[in-house]
Symmetry: C3
Subunit: 430 residues, 3 copies
């Protein structure tokens, strides 16, 4: 019975047209042009490297996409067991008429040709969106992105702020900020705030629905006084990356707090992605160098959550051991929202246990079930589908079988976390 409930709930969930609330899609090139774009996703390159493939084999400059795919295919054997490999097989089945279980030396060339041919269609992006039952995707835009040349109803801008908070010590970042805002980043906190505000104006005018940032496990947001912030800003302006580390942290805090104030002022959510250490494996492949210290707590965000009761904070945690805190903080704080299953927690067994804990304890209106985090549109489908299958199983077992809910009611809950909450928590700017 649970088996058939699960299947019918899954079918109902699969029929819902999605909005993907966090991706890294490039709206000027949203879909892939060859299999190399798919296999170039860091999950494949880093896993192939982890399994023994040399970095220089993977990152050779000017290599032809077909040659790169040929090389990577030879190194996919050790990855066959991974959820990530499963996504790839799903993509090939869904979009390229592939019927096998394994992509290997016996079949990749045909697959490469079929894919290239399909991808060359002028409307390939729209085809992928359509076949994936996806209506729109959120982007991850640099703060100085012009946000022009694409349809912001389909590709929804999102202001990513890591550079502003953590890299203002770099000349290049300050120059970019000055250039795009035409506001001088000198020692004035007012100018700094005005420049940030101008970015919010620009983004919101262009349809942005969220501000977002990823944060290291050591970060602990604090309100910094003007006096303290001025000293820190002066040091960083003078000494850049050689400024006193305490001042760099102070400035990060000041900028972060200002962003929260601007989210409050402009009425948009502030997505916090908590827990990543950058560059842990320095010799890793591109985007395959980051890891984490799971000893992080949401208690570090106590001051922030209390200070901004009107800002919605959709929170992603990198490690599943933080999920229970996320559940509890969302259950208590009106402005804390559970958000998806991020990166190293985005594999079936972690999703299963984390989603189950959320569904039984966080108000149903405060859960954003999933986002794909994809760099290319083709990945939205298999990632969401992995989640949908787990969600359907949890709904069938926890709600239908154990709590005696009807399937309709379970689907209604699924729809809410999968789709409706995205629309409500990230409303279209009016």
């Amino acid at each position: 019975m649970s088996e058939s409930s699960r299947e019918s709930i899954y079918q109902a969930l699969a029929s819902i047209r999605l909005v993907d609330p966090h991706t890294h899609i490039n709206p000027h090139s949203p879909a892939s042009t060859t299999l190399a774009d798919l296999l170039g996703y860091h999950y494949y390159t880093e896993l192939a490297h982890s399994a023994g493939m040399a970095k220089k084999e993977i990152e050779e400059e000017d290599i032809h996409p077909r040659d790169l795919v040929g090389r990577l295919i030879q190194n996919l054997g050790p990855l066959e067991n991974t959820a990530q490999y499963q996504w790839l097989v799903e993509i090939c089945r869904k979009f390229f008429n592939f019927e096998g279980d394994r992509i290997d030396e016996s079949n990749w060339e045909t697959l490469y040709d079929v894919a290239e041919s399909k991808m060359s269609a002028a409307d390939w992006s729209m085809t992928v969106l359509d076949q994936s039952n996806v209506q729109a995707v959120f982007l991850t835009n640099e703060f100085d992105d012009a946000l022009t040349g694409f349809d912001t109803d389909t590709y929804i801008p999102c202001l990513r702020t890591d550079d502003l908070v953590f890299h203002l010590g770099k000349d290049s970042v300050r120059e970019r900020l000055q250039f795009c805002t035409e506001i001088s980043i000198d020692g004035s906190l007012t100018n700094l705030r005005n420049a940030l505000d101008q970015r919010f104006e620009h983004f919101i005018k262009n349809g942005a629905r969220a501000c977002a940032i990823s944060l290291p496990p050591t970060f602990e947001p604090k309100c910094v006084s003007d006096g303290r912030a001025e000293v820190a800003l002066a040091d960083v302006l003078t000494n850049g990356l050689n400024a006193d580390p305490a001042n760099q942290i102070t400035l990060s805090n000041r900028v972060f707090w200002t962003l929260a104030e601007l989210c409050d002022h402009h009425g948009i959510p502030f997505d916090l992605m908590i827990g990543v250490n950058r560059g842990v494996y320095a010799d890793g492949v591109y985007q395959g160098q980051d890891l984490y210290d799971s000893r992080v707590s949401l208690i570090q965000y106590k001051e922030l959550f209390n200070a901004f009761p009107k800002v919605n904070f959709p929170i992603s945690v990198l490690a599943s051991v933080t999920n229970q805190e996320l559940v509890s903080y969302s259950w208590i704080f009106p402005n804390v929202i559970t958000n998806g299953h991020w990166w190293y927690s985005n594999t079936p067994s972690f999703i299963s246990r984390d989603a189950a804990a959320r569904l039984e304890a966080v108000p149903r209106t405060k859960q954003i079930g999933y986002y794909s985090d994809a760099y290319k549109l083709e990945f939205v489908h298999p990632k969401f589908d992995m989640y949908r299958r787990i969600l359907a199983k949890t709904l069938a077992e926890q709600f239908v079988s154990q709590n005696g809910w009807s399937e309709e009611r379970a689907v209604e809950l699924g729809r809410q976390v999968l789709k409706d909450n995205v629309d409500r928590i990230f409303p279209k700017p009016s």
Copy 2:
């Protein structure tokens, strides 16, 4: 097969008359008088607030219970998915002839009337206990509770000591201690100890079977020398809450250690509930402000567990990530006992995984399966029933199906953790 085992094990467990080893029941008013007492439970007010209901709507003074229930009902929709909502539905079904799945604007008024009518019976408390198959419940008494005017066989006193350990800096707490003991709390450690001892005498004389305390994640019990303790006590007596924080911590440690000595002397267990941070969400509703930092370890209790080999320490941990440590410490230390599923870990998915880990590795004599933590008697049933269903499932799958146990043997294990261990670990004072 596992399905039918599970059901028959559940039925056998449900027939066991329970003693609930930890509640916050008020013995002078143990059951509810209207639905407002049920919906006023912090789980509903805090979740409704978290989902958007204003605090002032919830905590308006002098509001009529019926009006409050009407308001809360309008805000329960977002909570329907939670385990806590499920408890409420179970209560209404069990005690008030309710047959629906949802309590909403269409049916709450009838339900309110039925409940009020039933609750007005003179023997309502006994009816609830009886229908819940509950023989007795442990209380949580303030240290200066007179412990008179109720049947201590049914409502078993328990000495709660948070105020003594953490709030002796408050004039009101010292005054209450002086008043009830008639011992002067001056700079004398002897007097302080005598006052505490007098409280143990008072409680034990009145049938108390445990001393209990909740502890913040930073607490690390230590034996404090007399000299050091005298300095700390003098500072706290003079400066109250403005005393040197180090002295306040030292005094907390001294009092805590003295309580452990008195548990040893009087032969009663010391319930430790480890890991709560009070007042994290300062603007939350009543009792809906506490959260935690899951970065806590039982290694902090190493000195305590070694110093008091004859004191039984039933331990509750707030976060499921600490459960494995609890399992391991109970497996090694004769005086460490696993105790229930506390607060933020008291939802089905955390109970499932935590109970499974205990049942397979901690001696069966050292596990107290569950306590309800209830404030009103009506909640004892649905909470225990949630646990019993999970326990039955675990016994059916882990022991009957995987290990080949008979159902009888599985039920015997279930009975031990559910009931027998409570009787043995908290014996009646002779």
Copy 3:
């Protein structure tokens, strides 16, 4: 369907002849001589003690094995629910014609006699290996072990280095090192390194395939300069265990780093078993005193993993909360390998969730599924069998049922983590 898949996958896995990559078997006395050797395993003594049996009852000197078994049997009742008890029953069923579920006062004497008779056979060790379908086991040898008098094809040496890294302050350890190497441990770093290198030569010449160590949660490997190391070594040589604690830690780091260099030089893996605090319960029974602080992170090993890209580090973590970090670090670092389910994480529910997370995210070539950690050969079978059953269940559910794999393909993955990776990661020295 999943049920039958599981059974046929289990049968296929059970037919694989194993190499156990980590045990504490004494090659001069690999199997038991009476039931006392089995019941003397620390799991039974520490659990019986935890459940109330006095240490002096367990550790009485010169007690006859039969009397000790009689005593322990009387105290096994409270342990019947544990996975460890299940191992014991499995051993008795497999090797001693036992047909019951419980070993108790009614049947232990017969069992004792049957076991003693079987164990007295000259080829008992080979019989156990053969019936367990085990080809060879890795040992845990003291650094000064002569490694003579046993078949190193069956009993594979492994250089255990805890004493060298953490106890060089003890006169006895330095004396043992001098004695076995004939190199003077004076203030010279060169001599110290030469002595260590000589141990590697000795071990590898005798068939060793790994260097191993267990590490406390506070340990954070660092490269120490020669100058700093000389100061530390001089202090430790002069003051032994009274040396400045900072110098003792520095010397530990220096020795540890040198061991990693020697693993690199000699091309053997360095097994790291991370997270144990020794002697937490000081009055516990022999080997029943160690526990842990689960607040540990692999970020502490960042410098090490980056510095030795060619050294394979099979990693065991003591607490399941560290498992996700292990998964992620293995997925990113080519030289990090997941290794078994250690000690307090070696019970079914932790194995299940930890193994599932590894199988879905770590390259299949980088997972060593299991080791027994056994002290006597009889335990290899029930421990591996516990793992095999869980592995079969995970493969049937995650891969066959959910991902649509054939059973053959699932068995192939199981074989790789169970056996093939052991052969490949710990190759025979050529």
